[in-house]
Symmetry: C2
Subunit: 318 residues, 2 copies
DNA sequence: CCCAGGTTTGCTCACATGAGCAATAATCCC
DNA sequence: GGGATTATTGCTCATGTGAGCAAACCTGGG
């Protein structure tokens, strides 16, 4: 398009979008026919000069969702808009809200829902509305009795989700990681624990988040791992953890020995399950989100616009 | 509007603006009549959830222009959009471009055009197109032979503008400020200089910028004033300078003695002129822009969105 | 219980708009 | 310079959309 037409298209867009003039009226002002005006407006749109944003905490980015589904084979992708967000915390809250919305709209309602724990899942639990899904049985899928002051976060997340569903919670009263393999095996041999794990393995749907592999991990906070141990894992290629298990970018367990001492369902369980919902948001989590999505660890991803764009980015340049 | 309607309006907006669905189609998806969808979209707009921006260097903000005209009594206001700008320099360049556009579209074409000098005016001169206004006589309205390396900027601005208009330039070969009043008076007594000043006083239109009163002023750069002198002026209430003369927020000359030693047309000349175009942009210039507009020193203001909003702001809280 | 007041809904109709197509203008290549 | 090719323009027609209005529906007070 010619240079002067580009300018005209901007003048037309100002009158159309800011002054709510009709294309005829604009035609009179700019001395053009109304068809020319229509074409100019179309070209302004096509050139990307017109940016339309939906500014609302609940706004989603449907075109990005579609592209994500197409390029990754996910069953579903929920991408929240980051328009107008100022902090990472706000973005994560929006994502949690979207996850809660998604869970609420799930049909058929899963009888048994396996969940992990962490800041994100806790956030999701808070955003769920009372009565969101009548009679769901919520099962913890990985250990999480906290070693420090954060006691009970894991349990309380499960209980809150179950309570709001007018359903029941089945807790996994176990540490996330044992120091000795024998202790872990003894624990798993216990009838109650074994029952919970069996229930977890047979859940109809899973909801989980993921942590990046760095010093801020919840597993460090909770005292299960030291910063040095994390650094070692990173050195071995770890990008983050899913249900307490560290994986590299190919979705492989980074440290089999550590993995053996970790209580909860295996990564492969997620791969086999028909409905696994990953809720991952924040600028530090692009790498782990990529690992989860690329390796089929989830069938549904709930995330933010920036993370989603990062995932789409490397589809173009493989 | 109810909470669930608000959410529906967002869902509808996503489908309408991002997925280009028709209101009928959205109605089918959300199980609503198409009229309800129309109303939801209208309410989303009314609530400000839909933000439409025109992202282009030449984009203007017509609604702000209108409000500026209405609240200040300006004949005309040109407000460039700051959507997508990263630096103050870019914003100033956009403003200069808009000023050039405005000058080009002036009808009737002024026979004599008085101009000041400075970074902004220089920028305007660069953005003008060859043949922008056939036969204009450009007159410098304030002194400006530079004392340091910036020699000739003032003259070159005038010459460039005149040259591009296929017209003539009348230069004012004089320092901006004299050290002694007598020297200035002697200068003005010179036939040539007097002639130029008379021409300047009788110009049909003026274009000028303004400087904020701080250490970055062009008058400091050029060596006419020291930082200490500026500080003194500020202490007396100066907010900036117009055609080399420092004024306070009431548009009054701050230092009459200094003013007497300054070469060029008087501030009152601008007040009396029928067409005076001020080009003022940048975050540091809000105060001087306010002084210029509030005190009738210009009939047309070319500025950026942020400065314009600052001007509108204090209209609401007088 | 019923009715007045206000609000929401469904609808008609007029206007605004985009798709598609023929007519015209511009451009290129020999 | 002239004919072929492409781009641009003006237009018809079908569809999309908002204004305005009447019917239905709450809602609270007698």
């Amino acid at each position: 398009m010619s240079d002067t037409d580009e300018l005209l298209s901007i003048r037309a867009a100002e009158l159309y979008y800011e002054e709510n003039q009709t294309q005829d009226e604009i035609g009179v002002i700019l001395r053009l026919t109304r068809w020319k005006v229509g074409r100019l407006l179309a070209s302004a749109k096509a050139n990307g000069f017109i940016r339309i944003e939906i500014v609302h905490p609940r706004a989603r980015r449907l075109p990005i969702e579609r592209r994500l589904r197409e390029s990754t084979g996910l069953t579903d992708a929920i991408v929240v808009s980051s328009a107008g967000v100022s902090s990472d915390a706000e973005l994560q809250s929006r994502t949690a809200q979207a996850a809660a919305d998604y869970l609420t709209s799930l049909r058929p309602i899963p009888r048994t829902l396996g969940i992990s724990w962490g800041r994100t899942l806790h956030d999701v639990s808070l955003h769920l509305k009372q009565g969101w899904a009548p009679g769901v049985n919520v099962v913890q899928i990985n250990g999480g009795v906290s070693l420090n002051q954060r006691t009970g976060t894991a349990a309380s997340t499960a209980v809150t989700i179950a309570h709001k569903a007018d359903g029941s919670a089945t807790l996994l009263p176990s540490p996330a990681i044992f120091e000795r393999l024998e202790t872990k095996q003894a624990m798993e041999a216990d009838r109650t624990i074994a029952g919970v794990l069996a229930l977890a393995r047979n859940a109809q749907a899973y909801v989980f988040s993921a942590g990046q592999a760095d010093a801020n991990s919840a597993l460090v906070d909770s005292g299960y791992l030291t910063v040095e141990q994390i650094n070692e894992l990173v050195a071995k290629g770890a990008v983050g953890d899913v249900v307490g298990r560290y994986i590299d970018k190919h979705g492989r367990i980074v440290d089999p020995e550590l993995n053996e001492r970790t209580v909860g369902i295996q990564i492969d369980q997620l791969r086999r399950a028909p409905l696994t919902i990953a809720v991952i948001s924040g600028n530090t989590k692009h790498a782990i989100a990529r690992a989860v999505v690329r390796n089929g660890l989830c069938t549904v991803l709930v995330t933010d616009e920036d993370t989603a764009n990062a995932l789409l980015q490397d589809k173009d340049t493989p």
